[in-house]
Amino acid sequence: MSRILGATSLAGGVHRRVDVAIVGSGAGGATLAARLASQGLEVALLEAGGAHTSADWGASDERVSYPMLYQDRGSRTTDDAAITVLQGRSLGGGTTVNWTTCFRTPDRVLARWAERHGATSWTSEALRPHFEAVEARLNITPWEEGLANPNNASLRDGARRLGIEATGLRRNVKGCRNSGSCGLGCPHDAKMAMHLTMIPDAVTSGATVYTDVAVDRVVMEGRRATGIRGRVLHRGSERTTGAEVAIDADVVAVCGGAINSPALLLRSGLGADLPEIGRRTFLHPVVAVTAEFEAPVHAWYGAPQSIASHASIDRGPNRVGYFLEAAPLHPMLAAIALGMGGPEQAAAMSRLRHTTTTIGLSMDGWVEGDEGGTVTVDGAGRARLAYPVGPLLAEAMHAAMRDLVSIQLAAGALRVGTLHVDPVVVTDVQGLGALDAAAYGAHEHGIFSAHQMGGCRIGTGPGDGVVDDSLRVFGVENLFVVDGSVFPTSLGVNPSETIYAMAHRAAAGIAAEAG
């Protein structure tokens, strides 16, 4: 019998007992499952999305991939619809659709976590062997700068001409054909996503994977979690089949990712004792500019990201830092990002092949007064995310757009535009002042997120966190959270490698609890 079971095999529901039940098969859950199963523990890995593979998404068509592979069929937003939230939902979670950029956690971030948030054991030294292990398994290696597509080259060349640091980066790929479809599912299985790496590893070691299963709650008895309860969904839908899932476990690990994990803990009744659940949720809010070049750019092809600039990540104690990267530009996503409609939209779309998109990601939750957003659940148990864009963030968005526009002009762009309702269009450096007259913040221009973090953060106690240094939920001996939601701040770098390494390291403590 296959160890990856989906809706069609689960018509009768699931009732069983295991050593460890893991909710969520993304970066955290899959890595944890592989580690625990390899130690002989009986593991059930539960995933709300489907067990989709390249056979399903084929050549990576936007119309197929977004509804299949993203939360809420691609429609997730903040409560006020000001921020479009791209978050994965299928076997492999966000790793199936991410753009493969990998960074180790910056030392200054770990130092801050230790100093202010009680994450004292998460030192670079302690994490090193775990980074090395996941780098080996996922083939995280430097991506040759010469392979940068024109979209990324515009960021590199423009930044360097202005004396702004911009460097190559590392990716988790093997045999990448530079197709540019990472965000739609890799058609060549070249991306070392969880469904091709850690999940097969876990299954080989005996884990059972249940897909199309939405976990509604963790079952609590006093200070212990006794298992999970959930429901089977029709594949490719959010409607239940009526079949129920009840798994009893010695240990439960919640790995649903930010937004989802805090929502699950709240639905499980833990909010009364743990008031910090859902608070300090971070998004690395993204702003973008588009730039038109004389020559075609074809920003839809080529690795989505080859270059990054962290020159402005540390802007002092009272200013939110940001980093700059590129983003792929396929027609459907471009159409939404431009979002104007009418003849202007048609004109912009006709120039899309000459257009680059570069992005600025704000490091939210780092400076005093910028606390991120808050996840709550409504009466039906659905997650809601309120995310205020305050003046500190708005200032960073303005500064990031100014940098991006300057860089694109230096790279030779004919004209550079923002994603404001009435775009600010700049054709030369003298025109940069127009950016200062524009408004910044929610509903003023497009804002996006592909990096959700926090909401179940590490802390010193229930007054300032949700989990302790070993990622155990405060007050519940056998309940852990192992995903990006445990970050006490955002990272200022793309988060996946940090999550892989944290899960890899946390497994030892969780195995001890289960054993």
Binding site: A59, I336, V421
Partner: protein, 157 residues
Amino acid sequence: MNRRTLLLSALAGPVACSATFPDAPRRLTTAQVATLAALAEVATGGPGLPTASDLAVAGRIDDLMANCDPALVADVGLALDLLASPWVGLVVTGRPGAFVDLARDARMEVVGHWRRHRVGRVRGAMQALLGLCLATYWGDRRTFAYVGYPGPMGAPA
């Protein structure tokens, strides 16, 4: 997988995390689909391009709704009902009339008014409705030639 399902990015409404829906699929009403079609018509198309009705934009959005969280469908419906209200036309253009009955220019005026509305959530609602129409339209292969997009680079050999 139904290949006609589409991206819903930028759609108004709360995130719906692992909430599950045993009910029958909820769809838009006929009047809501008509308002959506009237919006899609002014938001998309142009010289050398198919029209929104050529690509059945409104109907395909309605099809998509069948697989979505009913709360989301309700939010979209609400935004469309508001847009359809004759008061909206009166306030913005000085002429009463449901959105579907307004002339093309007047509809564009209403869209522009909502996109720049002083209340952020109204701006958000219009961006969401536009996002639906634009995603459905520009995600259609029949617009790729205009964009110069040859399509995704290669399925596995």
